[in-house]
């Protein structure tokens, strides 16, 4: 009982602040939790709402998958070869300091409005951190194991599957949880500017209409998606790792 109260407390606090803000600035400017809740409930029973949600989820996932694929394909060789690392690393740092808005502008010109922009922007935004973590994880691999692989002439497939991937999983997981956190923000931003559908586009639409309850409802939806994925996917994975961590990670 005490634990449930402890968990609910921050949310009650949020609702309290929200309600006070609504009362002090007026319901037109800041619709209260009650009014927003009613609009949100109305949204959630409509099929097209779920279409937008699924579209955003799909674009975010596809973008992150693309960023991760590039992160692995470039990160592992760079982790193994200091020369490759010196060549690629400054470029990745440059990419990392490039704000998503630049990618959105460029891609809108190159690719036009549609799904391409959000997917590629998410890939560009998540790639650097995935690359850096994967490259560092690979560089930190136990050299003794790699020498063993060389000695016993393990096929490349074996080296990747049995030594490199399990060896860097800790680093990769940290990078994925961070990347997942920014994925929905970047997807929504890209949709806001460059797409006719998806959550970001709905937020754009609501803001153009100055429909504050609708705007806040979509905000609640995207925050909920982030929370559910973090709590439902990353959290259990990390717990799992910690449980097996010290034993499996111990040097023989």
């Amino acid at each position: 009982m005490k634990r449930i109260c402890g968990r609910l407390a921050p949310w009650l606090l949020l609702f309290l602040v929200w309600a006070v803000a609504s009362l002090s600035f007026g319901s037109d400017l800041v619709p209260g939790p009650w009014r927003t809740g009613r609009v949100l409930a109305g949204l959630l029973v409509r099929a097209d709402t779920w279409e937008h949600i699924v579209l955003t989820l799909f674009r975010g996932t596809a973008g992150m998958a693309l960023g991760a694929a590039l992160g692995y394909i470039l990160g592992i060789p760079c982790g193994l070869s200091p020369t490759a690392m010196r060549l690629v690393s400054p470029l990745v740092t440059a990419l990392q300091s490039c704000p998503p808005i630049v990618w959105i502008s460029l891609l809108l010109v190159w690719a036009g409005i549609g799904a391409t922009v959000p997917v590629l922007v998410v890939a560009a935004a998540t790639f650097p951190m995935l690359f850096i973590n994967i490259a560092h994880g690979t560089a930190d691999l136990d050299r003794g194991l790699l020498e063993m692989a060389r000695m016993y002439r393990l096929p490349l497939r074996r080296v990747l599957w049995d030594i490199v991937l399990p060896g860097i999983s800790r680093y990769a997981l940290a990078a994925f949880s961070f990347a997942l956190g920014i994925t929905w923000k970047v997807t929504a931003t890209a949709e806001f500017f460059g797409s006719g559908n998806g959550i970001g586009a709905r937020i754009y639409w609501a803001s153009r209409q100055l429909d504050m309850p609708l705007l806040l409802s979509w905000t609640v939806i995207i925050v909920a998606i982030g929370l559910v994925l973090e709590m439902g996917l990353i959290h259990p994975l990390r717990q799992d790792r910690r449980a097996e961590g010290p034993a499996a990670g111990a040097a023989p």
Partner: protein, 202 residues
């Protein structure tokens, strides 16, 4: 056959570890290097294995089929004992032949019970035996052994010695580093006494 001729070796940015090492192990022969810790014995094995490039000198090894039991076991912590052996074999054997070789050597070194366990669940001596089993399972033509008898009980030492003797009889060249001179003598090995760094042999 293992041939090292006038090998000189230094780790990057450090002094010479091996100054001038020459030795030869013919097919079916066995050489044991004895000497104080840190005199370059393990480095000599690494050079023979081809894992370290000598600064000068010539290395010739008659076969690429090398079993190397490292000083520290070098097992994959996230794979079971049996999988570790199968992975070690994957460059040479596949499918049923690989499974047969792995199970045979696990059994022979008294690791049958441990085959499904992770390395972290084993004692230090058992991990050393897995390392040896991996080296023997590849049916090596060149066998490099770094302290194969260290931390093993008498029964395990005998199992390991039997395995080594078998491959030697089949024509493998065996180069080992050991403090256990009685076992080296028992195997009929030529013993090279080493002293002082940088190492000079031959």
């Amino acid at each position: 056959m293992i041939q090292l001729e006038h090998i000189a070796f230094a780790y990057p940015g450090r002094g010479l570890v091996l100054a001038d090492v020459s030795l030869e192990v013919p097919a079916g022969g066995m050489v044991c290097l004895c000497g104080p810790s840190g005199c370059g014995k393990s480095t000599t094995l690494d050079v023979a294995a081809g894992l370290r490039q000598p600064r000068s000198g010539r290395r010739h090894v008659g076969s690429r089929r090398i079993g190397y039991a490292f000083q520290e076991p070098r097992l994959l912590p996230w794979r079971s004992v049996r999988e570790n052996l199968l992975i070690g074999l994957s460059g040479w054997l596949h499918g049923a032949a690989a499974r047969h070789a792995a199970d045979l050597w696990l059994e022979r070194l008294g690791l049958g019970e441990a085959s499904g366990k992770l390395p972290a669940e084993l004692s230090g001596g058992m991990r050393r035996r897995v390392n040896l089993a991996r080296a023997l399972a590849v049916t090596p033509e060149v066998l490099l052994l770094d302290e194969p008898f260290a931390f093993l009980d008498a029964a395990s030492c005998r199992q390991v010695a039997d395995g080594i003797r078998e491959f030697q009889a089949a024509g493998a060249a065996v180069l080992m580093v050991s403090h256990q001179r009685d076992w080296a003598d028992d195997l009929g090995s030529r013993i090279i006494e080493l002293s002082g760094a940088p190492l000079r042999v031959g």
